[in-house]
């Protein structure tokens, strides 16, 4: 008996060790990014790597922020993200209400559209979007990028918000209707407050995908002063022979911070949108 228990405990320790090893391997790149960002230049290029920068320096962050177009492109990203998300969430919420609360002819077709668009490979659309936007002089303009992003944020948001709406019992609204509320009244007084967390989570997730997007921004925006921060980061290396790895990692950290913070906040609420129904998370 005790031998078997000892064996079970040894096995448990074994699994735990494997788990820890996996943790270290998975997290290492993130750790290495942050660690490099705080090292001195000698430590960064040394052939014997320093694991923990014991005398952290902020100079790389200063360099990254002082690089041309950093603040301009951060501002561009913020404008694009804010406008895209604000418009998309309002429109998507209306459509989500239709999907979650009404049966109507053509509903299935609309669902196919919402799901199907999310599957389109973005590279497959760069050519027509570029040519059409060029016709209307919307390349190299943030408006062109905003409308492009909306086509992808909308379907995703409709689907996610629909999921949140399904979680709110219909009986609540019906009861209010019986008490004499109008449909609009129910919408404002009951649905909207209950949907608060769902709306926030969806907005944040839309914020993240838009902030991270690369290929459309790369294709549609040419001027360095018009680009978004992901494109700015992708051009960081440039053609320098001596790469400033410390500053690159500091810039990467700066780009990732808002996303990481937001993502960790909403991950639980949103993660299952793509598989919802198959998993009860």
């Amino acid at each position: 008996m005790s031998r078997r228990r000892k064996g079970a405990r040894a096995r448990q320790t074994g699994w735990n060790l494997v788990g820890l090893a996996v943790f270290l391997v998975m997290v290492f790149p993130v750790f290495w990014m942050i660690s490099t960002a705080f090292k001195s230049n000698e430590q960064v290029v040394s052939l014997n790597p320093t694991w923990f920068p014991l005398h952290p320096t902020l100079s790389h962050f200063r360099d990254a922020m002082n690089k041309p177009f950093f603040w301009v492109d951060v501002r561009n990203s913020l404008i694009v993200v804010t406008v895209t998300v604000a418009i998309s969430i309002v429109l998507a919420f209306l459509a989500a209400v239709a999907l979650a609360r009404y049966g109507f002819a053509g509903r299935k077709l609309f669902v196919v559209l919402v799901i199907g668009i999310q599957m389109l490979p973005q590279a497959g659309l760069i050519i027509p979007l570029y040519v059409v936007l060029a016709r209307y002089h919307q390349t190299n303009a943030l408006t062109g990028l905003i409308v492009t992003y909306m086509t992808f944020v909308l379907p995703f948001s409709v689907w996610t918000l629909r999921g949140f709406l399904l979680g709110i019992p219909k009986e609540l609204e019906e009861a209010a209707m019986v008490d004499g509320s109008t449909r609009l009244g129910v919408f404002i007084k009951i649905l909207l407050p209950l949907m608060g967390p769902g709306l926030v989570a969806t907005s944040v997730y839309a914020f993240i995908t838009t902030w991270n997007e690369y290929i459309f921004a790369r294709v549609l925006l040419n001027d360095q002063s018009k680009q978004t921060v992901t494109v700015w980061l992708s051009y960081f290396l440039g053609s320098n022979r001596h790469t400033d790895w410390g500053a690159l990692m500091a810039a990467s950290t700066l780009t990732a911070i808002p996303v990481v913070v937001f993502f960790v906040l909403v991950q639980r609420r949103i993660a299952f949108g793509l598989t919802s129904g198959a998993v009860r998370g």
Binding site: W32, F104, I127, T275, G277, A278
Partner: protein
């Protein structure tokens, strides 16, 4: 509506008007969902439908920089398609992309399943730690991840070469990970699998929680052991989730662009290491041959559409829930 219903004892005239009003009310009610989805439909139609029409049109035209400025293409029928389909590079790229996708998806799913099973077996502390780590990795923007991996695999002072050499795996001093196509795509694969694992593992782990413990116990009483239990109980229960995750991974990996494009780098991209999205980007956009690019886009969109059928079908069935 309320007023008219309070007027109970009314003549025939009032009755018809009430009926008409009720009919009107019902029509309005029926129009509500259409009104609600209209804005989304308009935006999608304008920004996606219109360009898709253009895509088809462009694919039958000679449309380069000159035509872009002139706003007018020259119709050449199906010449673009013929040119692409007779291009050896297209077929090589397709084959490479299919193999690449197969390897990426297999690695993602197998490792994902193993890690999910591992999460069940570790103690709570390790599980919370590992899950937090996975969420952290999940949250990394792709462009950021590419830069970090590029730095780690740098041949001069990248940490990967140092670690491999010092762990006694071999001499990787100044080993160039971007010297051959195979090596380039291998690093890209590792990057993609690393980035995809968190979503797969966490979703599968949530699915494992659905496996009823008494079912497993009953099987154990009947003498079933680990592997048999997994095959006969766990796998069938996870089947729907596995199918969805696999289809999503296939669709994503087949169309992947950012990771290979940025990690290999524009300077090192040649027709010898194209993946489908990059082929399209280089031949269509970079060389400003939009007509031919449009033909490639349509071929690629058709392939992805075929790959997506199973997934979209399943999701639409879920969408039926009201």
């Amino acid at each position: 509506m309320q007023e008219s219903s309070s007027n109970a004892a009314a003549g025939t005239l009032l009755g018809t008007s009430r009926r008409r009003r009720r009919l009107w009310g019902r029509t309005v009610q029926g129009a509500v969902p259409y009104g609600l989805i209209l804005p989304v439909l308009v935006v999608i139609g304008a920004i996606l439908g219109y360009p898709l029409y253009w895509l088809v049109k462009l694919s039958t035209e000679k449309y380069g920089l000159f035509e872009l400025i002139r706003h007018q293409g020259v119709g050449i029928g199906l010449h673009n398609y013929g040119s692409v389909l007779h291009d050896g590079v297209f077929w090589h790229t397709l084959l490479r992309t299919v193999v690449f996708t197969a390897v990426n998806v297999t690695l993602t799913m197998v490792l994902g399943m193993l890690l999910a099973l591992l999460l069940v077996r570790v103690t709570t502390f390790v599980r919370v730690l590992l899950t937090s780590g996975l969420v952290l990795v999940w949250s990394m923007p792709v462009v950021v991840a590419v830069q970090v991996w590029y730095w780690m695999t740098n041949y001069e002072n990248g940490v990967v070469n140092y670690l491999l050499s010092h762990l006694g795996i071999g001499d990787f001093y100044q080993h160039d990970w971007y010297a051959t196509t195979f090596s380039q795509l291998s690093v890209v694969t590792l990057l993609i699998v690393w980035g995809a694992l968190p979503f797969v593992v966490i979703t599968l782990y949530a699915g494992l929680a659905q496996v009823p413990p008494d079912l497993v116990e009953a099987a154990e009483v009947d003498g079933a052991r680990g592997w048999r239990i997994f095959l006969d109980i766990t796998l069938p229960i996870l089947r729907p989730i596995l199918l969805i995750l696999t289809s999503l991974s296939i669709i994503w990996d087949f169309g992947v662009f950012t990771q290979p494009y940025l990690l290999i780098g524009q300077a090192k991209i040649t027709s010898g290491n194209y993946l489908m999205s990059i082929y399209l980007f280089e031949e269509g956009y970079f060389k400003s041959d939009f007509g031919r690019g449009a033909a490639i886009s349509i071929l690629m969109l058709l392939m992805v559409a075929v790959l997506s059928v199973a997934y979209v079908r399943r999701m639409v069935r879920m969408g039926d829930a009201l």
